[in-house]
């Protein structure tokens, strides 16, 4: 399973990640922030366990999705949330 790669789109650009990867990990690989904070700071995942909500991003059009609790699926579209 980990050898298999899938393609997802981060802020419009395709990236290839191992199947089963968490979306938060994929965003880190793409060097894309998950969200822009209320005062404009870029933020990435902090707790990795669904508690801090820093990893919220827009996933397939749905804002406020916790990417550290979301497994990447082929063709998924993720955007930094501002």
């Amino acid at each position: 399973m980990p050898d298999q790669q899938i393609v997802i789109h981060v802020n419009g650009s395709p990236i290839s990640v191992p199947a089963g990867s968490m979306l938060s990990a994929a965003l880190l690989m793409a060097s894309a922030p998950c969200r822009i904070s209320t005062t404009g700071e870029p933020r990435t995942a902090l707790c990795g366990m669904g508690i801090c909500l820093e990893c919220r991003a827009i996933v397939n059009g749905v804002p406020h999705t916790r990417t550290c609790q979301t497994v990447c699926q082929e063709g998924m579209r993720v955007e930094t949330q501002s």
Partner: protein, 372 residues
């Protein structure tokens, strides 16, 4: 303790507005609060500044108060989050549309601007509302604000004028020119203004009942809703004085969050969430705005309104010549705080008021009781 001309009990939005008004009139004031400023019902409400026309007296006070908010607006600090969003009173059917027209007439007579929207204009104004609605009345000058910071703003202004504030001071007795704290100390003053919101422990005979409400706040979704949206069915349900009711009422916050209400329940003084009520409240909201379904809700809470039988507040003197009231604001205390403060301090100083103060006098209730 130095001498005070006035002790105010309760630092909700009403007590704080009164403190500022009294300080402006030159009184030496102390305001005492058992918790933190704005931590009572003021922290639980919606912050819709709205003109309401259930009765001529309600219309007079809300219109007057809204005009005071609008005058203050440019000076309010950013944290108050004041926005002139406007209210949309939504009509679901022809019967409610008739209500829209009669409401417009009433408002026009009172000099309140409003505009009737047909279904297409309504859909343009609020594209996420369900289709098939009959129309709406837009009241463009109604506002939205964040009540706890508004209360603190009044308090800060009052303190700049010398008002003394005591937080974490619970009052256990008040009247006859004296208030006593839980810690045994007391303050004497010739005038006491009770602004303790829905808590009537200090004066259990007050004709005020707690009316519980639920609210849900979502995460940030800027642009989904632009006006405060209220169903006109609200008039049928919310103002029934006995039964539990829910109504579609949704408020866009400056943060982009949506505040979804509302419910009304008597006889439940607990802070707990009643899931059956919450469910019907949210189902009602989703019925009007289906997209709410998928929005992320981050917190639900409850608050208690201070309801009187005629839905008007109690402002002015009592049988105890030292004791005055500014209470009983039901679902309009945020709106009415500035106007009520003027009326309360007028009553205290024996000044004439800009609007007729008689409908709000506490004595009206006793009189009714006597004449009944």
């Amino acid at each position: 303790m130095p001498d005070f001309d006035l002790v105010i009990v309760g630092a909700g939005i009403v007590g704080c507005a009164c403190a500022l008004e009294a300080a402006r009139a030159g009184l030496r004031v102390v305001i005492v609060e058992r918790g933190v400023v704005g931590g009572g019902t003021t922290a639980a409400g919606m912050g819709h500044v709205v003109v309401m026309d259930d009765s001529p007296a309600q219309l007079a006070l809300t219109a007057y108060s809204r005009s005071l908010w609008r005058t203050m607006a440019p000076e309010l600090p950013g944290g108050v989050e004041y926005e002139s969003r406007g209210t949309l009173w939504i009509a679901a059917d022809d019967e409610e549309m008739a209500e829209v027209f009669s409401k417009q007439t009433t408002y026009a007579q009172a000099g309140i601007a409003s505009q009737v929207l047909d279904p297409r204009e309504l859909a343009e104004a609020e594209p996420y509302l369900r289709s098939g609605l009959a129309g709406a009345l837009l009241v463009p000058d109604d506002g939205v604000l964040y009540p706890p910071v508004a209360a603190e703003y009044f308090l800060c202004e009052a303190r700049r004028l010398g008002v003394v504030f005591l937080s974490d001071h619970e009052v256990v007795r008040c009247g006859k020119g004296r208030i006593q704290f839980a810690n045994g100390t007391s303050i004497e003053s010739e005038r006491i203004l009770l602004a303790s919101g829905a808590s009537i422990d200090l004066l259990p005979s007050l004709p005020i009942q707690k009316r519980k409400g639920h609210l849900l706040i979502t995460d940030r979704y800027p642009g989904v809703v632009s006006h405060q949206l209220v169903e006109l069915g609200y008039l049928k349900s919310a103002h029934k004085l006995t039964a539990d009711s829910v109504a579609f009422n949704i408020q866009p916050r400056l943060t982009g969050q949506l505040l979804i209400g509302s419910s009304r329940q008597y006889g439940d003084e607990s802070r707990e969430i009643n899931h059956a009520i919450l469910r019907s409240m949210l189902e009602r909201a989703i019925e009007y705005m289906p997209c709410l379904k998928g929005l992320s809700g981050i917190r639900v809470w409850t608050g208690h309104r201070a309801a009187t039988a005629d839905k008007l507040p109690l402002i002015g003197p009592t049988a105890d010549p030292t004791l005055f009231l500014a209470m009983g604001f039901e679902g309009l205390g945020i709106t009415n705080a500035p106007g009520a403060a003027v009326l309360a301090i007028d009553a205290l100083l024996g000044r004439a008021s800009i609007i007729d103060a008689a409908p709000y006098l506490p004595s009206r209730i006793q009189q009714e009781a006597v004449h009944a």
